[in-house]
Amino acid sequence: MKVSLWGTRGSLATPGPETLEFGGNTSCVAIEGSEDTIIVLDAGTGIRKLGQHLPDTIKRVYILLTHLHMDHLQGLPFFAPLRREGVEVHIWGPASTTRGLRSRLLRYLSPPLFPISVREILSDLHFHELPSGTIGIREFEVTAQMIIHPNPTVGYCIKDQGHAVTYLPDHEPALGVKSFPIGEDWTSGYKLAEGADLLIHDSQYTIEEYEQRVGFGHSCLNHAFRFGQLTQVKEFVPFHHDPAHTDQMLESMISKTVEDLQPDYVVTPGKEGTVINVGG
C-alpha cells in the first residue's frame, strides 16, 4: 500500500511560513492498493490537491469519512472528481442516532454554508453508513469502529495483502482514564490498531495543553505514543497537528517525546506530502 499524506493539520487550515514543513491543509490521506484502487480518508482541505493529481480518466472514487466535523469535510466540494459527470463516488461515514449520513452531509453541502447543493453535483454519488463492521472495497478489507471523539466518529483499519494501516485522526482514548492506558479491552481504538503496520493517530496537544482541553476529543503526543506502544504498531505517524503549533514546535515536541518514551516502533512525523510504502 502506498500511503500519501495530503493534509495533516487539525481543526483549521493553517497556511503560512511557520507551517511550510508540516503543512497547513486539514485531514486527508490517500491509500493506493496493490491493484491501484485509491481510497481517500477524510475530505479536509488537503483533498483539493489530491483531486488535482488523480487522473482525469478515473471512474470510481472511494471516500471514507471518520466524522463530519468541518476540518474533515471542507475540501469535499473542491474535489475535482466530484464535479465530473460519469464518475462514481462512494462516500462512507457514520450516521447519527436520528439522521442518516446523506442528511447530515447536506447540512454543509447546501446554502447558506455552501452555494452549491448536493443535487447539483455532477458525479454519481452513493452514501454508505457504517458505525462499525468490515466491508470489502476492491482489494481492500476495511474495518470501521466507533471511537472516542465528540459526535459519532469512526476509526478505520485498512488491509491489503496482509498489511494494515490504521487511521485514527481524531481520538481521545485517554478521556476519563486516571492512568493511561488501563488495558487493551477498555481502550478505545485498540482493536483497530492492534499490530498495525502503520498507525496514523491524533497528536494534537502537548501534555500541558491536554490538561486544559480534556474532553475536546483529541490526544496529546504522549498519550498517542503510549497508545502506539499498547497496540504494538510497527510505524507511527503523529497527525492532526494543532493550528497553533509551528514547524519548529512540532519538531521539538516529537523529538522530546521520542527521547522520553523510547518507542520500539518507527516514528514518521506527519508532514504534508509524505509518502509511506507499507508492505514493500
Binding site: P131, S132, M146, I148, K178, D185, Y190
Partner: protein, 130 residues
C-alpha cells in the same frame, strides 16, 4: 481479551466519576464493570474480582422481596432491562457479602448504541432510608 464497544467504554468512564453505585453488564448479563460505590455493596473490589459471570453473580448476594421471599431473576430491573430492552425501575432487598440486609431502589436501562446495537445494560442503585 476483546475490546469493548465505545458506548460501554464511555459508560465505565462516567461510572468511575459518579458517587452512585453502578453496574454495567454485557448482553449475556455478565457483570463487566462496577464502580467504587458498588464495591461497598458487593463487598469486593473490581480490580480484584474482574468481570463476574451472570451465574456467579447470583451467588454473591441474595435479592428478596419485602416479605423476605427470594426474588426470581426475571423480576429484577436489570434483568428486565436486558430482556425487554427497555428501562426498568423497582425496589427490593439485598443481602450482601457482609450479611446485612439493605433496601435498595434500582433503575436499569439497556445500552443501545449507534445503529441500534444492543450492548448490554446499566443499573444505578441506591439505598432507601428505612
Amino acid at each position: 481479551m476483546a475490546q469493548k464497544e465505545i458506548e460501554v467504554i464511555l459508560a465505565r468512564q462516567l461510572a468511575e466519576y459518579l458517587a452512585l453505585p453502578i453496574f454495567i453488564v454485557d448482553p449475556n448479563g455478565d457483570l463487566i464493570y462496577y464502580n467504587e460505590p458498588a464495591e461497598e455493596i458487593l463487598g469486593s473490589r473490581f480490580e480484584e474480582t474482574g468481570p463476574i459471570s451472570a451465574n456467579n453473580l447470583a451467588g454473591i448476594f441474595k435479592t428478596l422481596d419485602q416479605d423476605g421471599t427470594p426474588l426470581k431473576s426475571s423480576k429484577l430491573p436489570l434483568v428486565k432491562a436486558l430482556v425487554n430492552k427497555q428501562p426498568s425501575h423497582g425496589s427490593l432487598w439485598i443481602e450482601g457479602l457482609d450479611g446485612k440486609l439493605r433496601k435498595i431502589a434500582v433503575t436499569a436501562f439497556p445500552i443501545i448504541g449507534q445503529a441500534q446495537r444492543f450492548l448490554g445494560a446499566i443499573a444505578i442503585f441506591w439505598e432507601v432510608p428505612k
